[in-house]
């Protein structure tokens, strides 16, 4: 597998930690803060996935749609 499989564990870790922080902040009574944390984590993961999707589309273009 040429690709960095570590990113999978990174995403899973980010998700678990964000869920934890969300729970703790909710217990402290700071609801809106908890939502901001979730949104931030979501943005980070979405950025990673967007980079990878760009890579995927470039690969498909190079493999299938060459000379265009």
């Amino acid at each position: 597998m040429p690709y960095n499989v570590d990113a999978v564990f990174q995403i899973a870790g980010i998700g678990i930690i964000v869920a934890m922080i969300h729970t703790v902040l909710k217990q402290m009574g700071k609801e809106d803060f908890a939502h901001w944390v979730t949104l931030f984590g979501f943005g980070v993961v979405l950025f990673m996935i967007a980079m990878l999707i760009q890579d995927l589309f470039q690969t498909i273009k190079n493999v299938f749609l060459f000379r265009s």
Binding site: M1, P2, Y3, V5, A7, V8, F9, I11, A12, I14, G15, I16, V18, A19, H22, T38, G41, F42, V45, L46, M48, I49, L52, I53, D55, L56, F57, T59, I60, K61, N62, V63, F64, L65, F66, R67, S68
Partner: protein
């Protein structure tokens, strides 16, 4: 033994998604998408080798380059559309997935029009007037 790596990462991600889905379903969905992309990119290199061989054979057999290129593009469109539709369907948006598939079919039909034109022109030439 690429297959063992792919199956291994699939099983690991399945467990991670199961754990994560209870807490944050969005992250579970993103993780599944990520894994799909990783597996696809890992396989794209293999497909490229096969296609290079096919291209070599087609050049040796003097096949019209237009046909070969069109067929490759159609296969590429099919892969991209299938991938997008699967991701969207995983997120629970079946209707958008259907639209993506419809767009893929339409674009494939548009790309196939030159070939169909050639075939029909050939048939018309063969037929006695």
């Amino acid at each position: 033994m690429e297959i063992i790596q792919v199956v291994g990462i699939g099983i690991i991600v399945t467990f991670l998604v199961l754990v994560l889905k209870e807490q944050k379903p969005v992250f579970a969905f993103l993780l599944a998408t990520f894994t799909g992309i990783i597996i696809f990119i890992a396989l794209a290199g293999k497909i490229a080798e096969v296609i290079r061989v096919l291209e070599h054979l087609a050049t040796q057999a003097h096949v019209n380059n237009l046909f070969f290129e069109t067929i490759l593009k159609i296969v590429g469109i099919a892969y991209i559309a299938e991938f997008g539709a699967q991701v969207t369907r995983d997120a629970g948006q079946g209707s958008i997935a259907s639209k993506i598939e419809m767009a893929g079919k339409l674009l494939i039909m548009v790309m196939a029009i030159p070939i169909i034109t050639v075939i029909i022109e050939t048939i018309v030439q063969i037929l006695p007037a």
